[in-house]
Structures are given as structure tokens and as C-alpha cells.
């Protein structure tokens, strides 16, 4: 009886959110008809970045593991797909399936070492490994093209149309984000959040904390691999930049900006960050400086990010 009452209460709270969500879905589906090609291009980039940010947040916001190396795994995904398509001539499907698998394997190896340490040391280890990945990509000319990168990667004709690319990305990104949503709302996800809150206590409820942290690392890497692979197919290229620490910090800033303690935080953060960059860079050459100042202000004034700030305001008015 109690369970039925609880479920009804949940539904009541959910209906306005369900309507908003339905409107959002309709908007995303109708988007190619509403905006021009260049903005559609930007939207595809935002979708891919949103997936990367949600993947990072699985570690950052949900498990409390600050990683400075997500770009490394993102690049592994991109290069796996790129190398399979360009150098080995495989089809698009195996090339895109191999990417998250490869990223998960690398993530397992890197993560196993990194979780031996905590906090600052963990963060530094992730940064070091991302730089190792960058260096391998940069130096391994015969396979990765070195600093020339991989260009004009052969992708199916389907992707020549920006509208097709958009819908492809939308479906894949939405599916992955849904999978991440199911994971964070599962008992496993609840355990990860407990680890974020108090790793020492979690040891003493019978949970092998390192094993769960590693699992979070691997899952995060898997989805980062999907994002990297998507970007490779969308842009038809792969560059060492994809693994650079500046790309990692972009992802971190996006998560912080949107709010790491809310599921939609990284998604909103991506939109805010991308729109800020595009608008500011139209007006000034010093867009990096202005962006930096705005980000600092936003992070100082909105301690739980944009989504955190908004949900606090909304709950006060209820």
C-alpha cells in the first residue's frame, strides 16, 4: 500500500516535468527545420560534447572522482574509429562499435592504476595518463598520422547531409545519455553517490570501494569513447588535440558550469558554454579572456552550477 502511495506521489511531481521533457524532445526533433545549417553544425557539436560531459560527470558529480584526463579516452574512441575507417577500411558499424570497447579497455588499464590513489594524486595520475595518450598519438606517425592527424576519413555518403548527421547523433547521444541516466538511478549509482559522500564509510558497509571506482572509470571511458567516435565520423578527421588537457578542462568547466550534482547539469553547461563562446568570439579577438572571466563569475556566484542554482530558486518558491 505504501509503495502504491509513494508511486502516485512521484507521478504527481513528474507530470509537469514530463510535459517539459516532451516539448524539449519535439523541439530537438524539429530542429533542422527551424535553424540554419551552421547552427545545426554547432548543435551536433553540442550534442557530442554533452555526451562527453555526462560521461565525465558519472565520475565527477556522481562518484566524486575529479579526473583531468577525459579527453584521453575521448581521443582513444575517435582514433579507434578513424584508424579502422581510414587505415583498415572497415565498415562504419564495426568502426563505431570498436571505439567504446577500446576506450573501455584503455580506461580499465589507466583506471586500475589511478584508483590506487585518491583526490589530488588521482587527479594528477589521470592528467599524466591523458598526456601519455596524447604523446602516443602525436609520435606514432604511421598509425595515427602524428601531428598531421587523420583527415578525409572515408565515411558513408549518409553523413554528407548535415540533417542526417544531426539525427544520427541525436539518436545515439540520446540513447547513451538515457543509459547513463539509468545507471545513476540504479542501486549501483546509489552506491557510487555514497562513495562520493563518504568513501571510508562505504568500505564499512561491505563495498569494495576501489572496485566500484574502477567500474565508474570504465563506464565513463566507454561513453567518452562513443563521443569521440561520433566526432570523428561527424568531422571526418581526428587530431592529437582531441587528447589534449585543454579539451579535458573544457569538459570539466562545462560540468562545473552546469552543475555536477544534477543530471542535466552537464547538458545545460554544454549549451551555455558553447553559446557563450560562439557569441563572444563574434565580437572580440580576446574571447578567451572574456570567457574566462564569465566562467569564473558564474562558478563563484552559482556554487552548484546553473542547474543547481535554478533548482534551488525553484524549490524556494514552491
Amino acid at each position: 500500500m505504501e509503495e502504491i502511495k509513494d508511486k502516485l506521489e512521484l507521478l504527481r511531481g513528474r507530470i509537469p516535468r514530463a510535459i517539459l521533457f516532451a516539448i524539449f524532445c519535439a523541439f530537438m526533433i524539429a530542429l533542422p527545420a527551424l535553424i540554419g545549417k551552421s547552427w545545426l553544425n554547432i548543435t551536433v557539436e553540442m550534442l557530442i560534447m554533452a555526451l562527453a560531459a555526462c560521461s565525465l560527470n558519472l565520475m565527477l558529480g556522481y562518484t566524486g572522482m575529479v579526473s583531468f584526463g577525459p579527453a584521453g579516452l575521448y581521443a582513444v574512441g575517435a582514433y579507434t574509429t578513424g584508424i579502422l575507417l581510414a587505415k583498415l577500411g572497415t565498415g562504419i558499424v564495426p568502426a563505431m562499435i570498436a571505439a567504446p570497447i577500446m576506450a573501455a579497455i584503455v580506461g580499465w588499464g589507466v583506471g586500475w592504476i589511478c584508483v590506487r590513489r585518491t583526490q589530488v594524486y588521482f587527479a594528477l595520475l589521470t592528467l599524466a595518463f591523458a598526456q601519455i595518450i596524447w604523446t602516443i598519438i602525436f609520435e606514432w606517425y604511421p598509425v595515427t598520422g602524428g601531428d598531421d592527424g587523420l583527415v578525409s576519413i572515408p565515411t558513408p555518403d549518409f553523413f554528407f547531409s548535415i540533417t542526417n548527421s544531426y539525427y544520427f547523433c541525436l539518436v545515439l547521444v540520446a540513447s547513451c545519455i538515457y543509459a547513463i541516466w539509468r545507471i545513476v538511478n540504479s542501486p549501483f549509482g546509489g552506491t557510487l553517490q555514497a562513495i562520493r559522500e563518504n568513501p571510508g564509510r562505504v568500505e564499512f558497509i561491505g563495498v569494495n570501494v576501489k572496485r566500484y571506482q574502477l567500474a565508474a572509470f570504465v563506464l565513463s571511458s566507454l561513453f567518452l569513447g562513443v563521443a569521440g567516435s561520433l566526432y570523428c565520423v561527424f568531422s571526418g578527421s581526428a587530431f592529437p588535440d582531441y587528447a589534449h588537457w585543454t579539451k579535458s578542462t573544457d569538459m570539466l568547466v562545462i560540468c562545473l558550469l552546469g552543475g555536477i550534482y544534477n543530471f542535466s547539469g552537464p547538458i545545460v553547461g554544454t549549451a551555455v558554454y558553447t553559446i557563450l563562446i560562439k557569441t563572444i568570439s563574434k565580437h572580440t579577438m580576446q574571447w578567451n579572456l572574456i570567457l574566462g572571466v564569465i566562467v569564473v563569475l558564474l562558478v563563484l556566484l552559482m556554487r552548484n552550477g546553473v542547474v543547481g542554482f535554478l533548482s534551488q530558486k525553484l524549490s524556494r518558491h514552491r
Partner: protein, 252 residues
């Protein structure tokens, strides 16, 4: 015998924190450990539960040597613990605090795709009710009153269905009324569920009212062990710890 600690030694650098300590707890028995601050009581608990490694000695739980086991394995065997400093999950609700411990106890922690929200809610509510927090199920752990947080700690420990409970200062920072409530709670839990209980306490009223056996520690060593009346009358214990409390303890 539920818990047996044999000749435990631990030093930190030059400081001997625990020195040749022996301890026994039987099922259905309530044992308290008292002593001045710095006597090594919390260190003793940390050694038993595997949070710190010991130098010499052994710990047996139900005749099984658990000496070098990691904490997560020891807790899976049936030892629940609460901590001196509040050790809960502040940004999770009371419900979620207990629920995540239940996930671990039932092996559900590995479940990736089921929905956690209402899972095991009957069991969670039962536990919250047994520690008097049923009406605070939706409150964030970090926002609970201090006494309620202490009780939530006990709730989390209970979720693992322990056979032995180690409580480190369960009534610390509580008012007289809260202390009486919590004392009654842990007594009832221990006797009704047949759980062996060992707790560290500074409140002598609590110690003398429910303990079957009292261990007294001083400067890392166990200086006396016995029934409450024996402890009260022991001169060394009085000198080292009870002191002026002898009179008030005798009255209670």
C-alpha cells in the same frame, strides 16, 4: 564466543597506542569499553574492523581469523560499526543512507539498470522505525540534528544484519533525554535481535545501566575487566578514570 581479540599491539612511531589488549564478546552480551581520552579505545575498534593494520596479535570473529582482512570483507561477515565522528552520507536522505547499506547487504549494489528509488523501501522503513527516524526519511543526512545523525549511524550499521555491533560513543553530544532514548534503543536492539554489542562510552550512567561486562583502558592497556559492580569498586579504575564519579555512579 563471537569476538575474540588476542594480545593486540599497535604503535604509531614511538607512541604505543594499544598494548597487549585482550577482549571477548559473546553473542547476546553487552560489553562496554571505558577509559580516559587517548586511552586507545577508538584505535582498538579501528584495529578490529581492519581500518588500520595491527603490529602484533589476532582478531577472531566466530572463530574465524579476521586479522588482516580489509574492512569491506569484515563488514560483510556480520560486524556493524558506528563511528565517533559522525560518519554518514550528508547529501543523501536518511532513507537513501540506509538503503545503500541494504543494497550492499542484499548484493544489489552491482545492479546497473534497476530503478533504485523505491527498492527495498519496506525494509528501509523498518530500520528507520527501529531507530526512531521514520518521520525523517526524506531529510538529508547532513541536515539532521546531531542526535538523529547518531541514530542514523546505528541504522546504517543495522542494515547489514550484523551479529556484532561496535558502537563508538553512541550518545556523544546528546541531551539527557536523547541519551536515555538511545540507551534504551541499543539495549533493546541487542537483546531482541541477539546481537553482541561492544560500545565505547564516556557517559557512566549509560555504561553502568546496560553493560553485562566493562573493560577499562588506560594508556593503551586493558587495566581491568569485570561486571559493573566490580568495576565500580576497583581502586585502580577509580584512580585512573572514575575518580569523583564514584559517588554519582554509586547512586545510579
Amino acid at each position: 564466543m563471537l569476538l575474540q581479540v588476542k594480545e593486540l599491539w599497535k604503535s604509531f612511531g614511538g607512541l604505543i597506542a594499544v598494548c597487549d589488549v585482550n577482549l571477548q564478546v559473546n553473542s547476546d552480551e553487552i560489553v562496554s569499553i571505558i577509559g580516559p581520552n587517548g586511552a586507545g579505545k577508538s584505535t582498538l575498534f579501528n584495529l578490529i574492523t581492519g581500518h588500520i593494520s595491527l603490529d602484533k596479535g589476532a582478531v577472531f570473529f566466530k572463530d574465524r581469523n579476521i586479522t588482516s582482512m580489509p574492512p569491506h570483507e569484515i563488514s560483510s561477515l556480520g560486524i556493524g560499526r558506528s563511528f565517533q565522528k559522525i560518519n554518514i552520507f550528508p547529501r543523501l536522505t536518511s532513507f537513501q543512507n540506509v538503503q545503500v547499506a541494504l543494497f550492499s547487504a542484499t548484493g544489489l549494489s552491482r545492479s546497473l539498470f534497476s530503478k533504485a528509488k523505491l527498492l527495498l523501501s519496506e525494509k528501509v522503513q523498518d530500520i528507520l522505525e527501529s531507530v526512531g527516524l521514520a518521520d525523517q526519511a526524506r531529510t538529508l543526512g547532513g541536515l539532521l540534528a546531531h542526535g538523529d545523525q547518531k541514530r542514523l549511524e546505528i541504522g546504517i550499521a543495522l542494515a547489514l544484519n550484523p551479529e556484532l555491533l561496535l558502537l563508538d560513543e553512541p550518545t556523544q553530544g546528546m541531551s539527557a533525554a536523547e541519551t536515555a532514548q538511545t540507551t534504551e534503543l541499543i539495549y533493546r536492539l541487542s537483546k531482541s535481535r541477539g546481537i553482541g554489542l561492544a560500545f565505547v562510552e564516556h557517559d557512566m550512567k549509560v555504561v553502568f545501566s546496560i553493560s553485562d561486562k566493562i573493560y577499562v583502558m588506560h594508556q593503551g592497556a586493558m587495566i581491568f575487566c569485570g561486571k559493573p559492580e566490580e568495576v565500580r569498586c576497583n581502586e585502580e579504575v577509580q584512580r585512573v578514570y572514575l575518580g569523583k564519579e564514584k559517588d554519582s555512579a554509586a547512586k545510579s
